[in-house]
């Protein structure tokens, strides 16, 4: 963790491995279940999910396709309603958290509005939240600079590469300074080189802002590289198999992925994922 975020006493990486009671929980899921009533027979997407995510954590949800990790993220975002159990965000309901604009959401696709310039896309949430025009401009510039797009504000989405579009969508999610950043396989559609690049970017961004991140992925290296905690989920119905704390050095870079520590954690994740498959 960089010194800039340290004074908060929250979210330092050293604490991530050994949870301290001082850090307040951002997300608390108790016996969470979600059943979709679509089609002929109901589909159980989530079953008995118990999870606590503390402030400053970088939590990855990893599991095979269709295991409900995106559904869990969407439940936290109040985009779907759980059918059983309890879900508290910042101590209140998920709906209240959404109404309070507690989180920024980064989707699988950039979902930029094609008729808006990049800068105006980043300003979109600020417009909806009624910020003044000077503040909108200042924040858009600040967060575009944070993702390295300061000179692209006047461009339109179709003029940017896929990776740049996704960076713009991250700037948009950060622009209103939410407590929580929810990311749903944000780099899944990108090539590996771009993906590595954005992973390094995201890690630095997390260090700089100290924001709590929940990150859905099905890539083991990505999860291990980014996370302070890795939540391994089983195939449908989605359950949490194991929560693995990661204590890689905060100044890690792409080369860290070849260190024995990294490989050991990746191995634990892989074993846990395999165990999930043997259930059925």
């Amino acid at each position: 963790m960089t010194p800039s975020a340290a004074p908060s006493t929250l979210g330092t990486r050293q604490h991530a491995a050994s949870p301290s009671p001082k850090r307040t929980p951002v997300v608390e899921a108790t016996d969470l279940g979600l059943v979709f009533q679509s089609g002929k027979q109901p589909i159980t997407a989530l079953s008995a999910v118990n999870l606590t995510i503390r402030r400053g954590d970088f939590v990855s949800l990893i599991g095979p396709s269709g295991c409900g990790k995106t559904t869990l993220l969407r439940a936290i975002a109040d985009l779907v309603k759980p059918t059983s159990g309890m879900l508290r965000i910042n101590g209140s309901t998920a709906e209240q958290a959404r109404l309070d604009r507690c989180y920024g959401y980064v989707f699988q696709a950039p979902a930029l509005y094609p008729w808006r310039s990049i800068e105006r896309n980043v300003m979109l949430p600020l417009e909806i939240m009624g910020k003044s025009r000077p503040e909108r401009l200042e924040r858009a510039q600040r967060y575009l600079a944070l993702v390295g797009l300061e000179s692209f504000g006047g461009k339109f989405p179709w003029q940017l590469s896929g990776g740049m579009q996704q960076r713009a969508s991250i700037a948009r999610a950060l622009s209103f300074e939410p407590d929580l950043l929810l990311m749903d396989e944000p780099f899944g559609a990108l090539d590996e080189i771009t993906r590595d690049n954005l992973n390094v970017h995201l890690l630095r961004l997390w260090a700089k802002t100290g924001i709590t991140v929940i990150f859905v992925t099905h890539s083991i290296p990505e999860a291990v590289f980014l996370s302070s905690r890795i939540v391994v989920m089983s195939p449908r119905p989605g359950r949490i198999l194991e929560v693995i704390d990661s204590d890689l050095p905060p100044d890690r870079d792409l080369d860290s992925r070849e260190t024995p520590e990294f490989l050991a954690i990746a191995h634990r994740v892989r074993v846990a994922l395999r165990a999930g498959h043997s259930y059925d």
């Binding site: 920024g104 979902a111 509005y113 008729w115 310039s117 417009e127 909806i128």
Partner: protein, 307 residues
């Protein structure tokens, strides 16, 4: 903005009315082919009556005289293009605008009704689309009626509308505008229903994550997303509103308007007059669509060159 980017933006526009250097030549070529066909058709169609007249005269005649005669009849079956052009000239440039024979006057009468109907129809179409997209009950109950409304022949329903409105004291422009609106709301409503539903689930979810109100979602997402569906609808609507206004003038024996020129032309066999009125109507429609294309181009420019 440099000329270069303007040029590429102009090329990217797929408007039916691009008068760039690249389109003038093909348009002219098609025009020439049509003119040749037209002149040949005039010979064929007017020929029998010309032959009759020349034979009655008893004088011997050659082919050139015959052809010239088919292109110069007073009441031809099919007037030659230059006859129509001359009639247009005589009834527009050569006539004072307030004359009862001025096509500018008659065109203005029809155009004002058509534009009033177009505005009315556009507003109605957009309001219906907003209702249909936001209220499930309206979606189920209104759509079949909207489609059914367009299966009724307008020629049959126009006189009824004129008579009913006349009974409650509405004459002149209002009944014509209403018949125009009856035709023109349809493409706008249809396009806007599709357009307002164009945002993909992610774009809508994004608004939900901001806990945006319905109004905000409409203003910042649905409405801008519908723009690329609005303009094609508007172009069809403006052409239909002219058709509606002209049809509305036919059954009532209107004293002015392009419809009245068509009607009086057909009473007295003045085919040249009919064709001149038709060409005038076409010019009005093309101009109206051209204006809409210019507005569309402005919107496209403001949105970075893509609609």
């Amino acid at each position: 903005m440099t000329d270069d980017t303007l040029a590429t933006a102009a090329i990217r526009l797929s408007s039916p009315l691009r008068f760039g250097a690249s389109t003038v030549l093909p348009v002219m070529a098609v025009g020439m082919v049509l003119l040749v066909i037209w002149y040949l058709a005039a010979i064929a169609l007017n020929g029998p009556r010309v032959t009759e007249a020349l034979n009655r005269g008893g004088q011997p005649y050659d082919n050139a005289t015959f052809i010239a005669a088919t292109w110069a009849m007073e009441r031809p079956v099919l007037p030659a293009p230059h006859q129509i052009a001359l009639e247009l000239w005589n009834t527009t440039i050569d006539k004072p605008v307030d004359s009862k024979r001025s096509l500018v006057f008659h065109g203005a009468v029809t155009l004002s009704a058509a534009l009033a109907g177009f505005v009315l129809g556009t507003v109605l179409g957009i309001v219906l689309a907003i209702g249909i997209v936001h209220v499930t009950t309206l979606d189920r109950s209104l759509m079949p009626w909207i489609v059914a409304s367009q299966t009724v022949p307008i020629l049959a329903i126009a006189p009824m509308i004129v008579v009913v409105l006349g009974n409650i004291g509405l004459t002149g422009l209002v009944p014509k505008a209403i018949i125009s609106a009856y035709l023109s709301f349809f493409p706008v409503a249809l396009g806007m229903v599709k357009g307002l539903r164009a945002p993909d689930p992610l774009q809508l979810d994004l608004m939900r994550t901001y806990s945006a109100t319905r109004t905000q979602t409409f203003n910042k997402l649905r409405w801008p997303a519908a723009m690329s569906f609005l303009f094609p609808g508007l172009k069809v609507a403006v052409a239909l509103s002219l058709v509606g206004a002209i049809i509305a003038e036919l059954p009532t024996g209107a004293q002015s308007g392009l419809g009245s020129r068509l009607l009086s032309g057909s009473y007295y066999g003045q085919t040249v007059q009919i064709w001149a009125a038709l060409v005038m109507a076409a010019i009005l429609a093309v101009t109206a669509i051209g204006v809409l294309s210019l507005i569309e181009r402005g919107v496209v420019m403001a949105r970075g060159g893509r609609l």
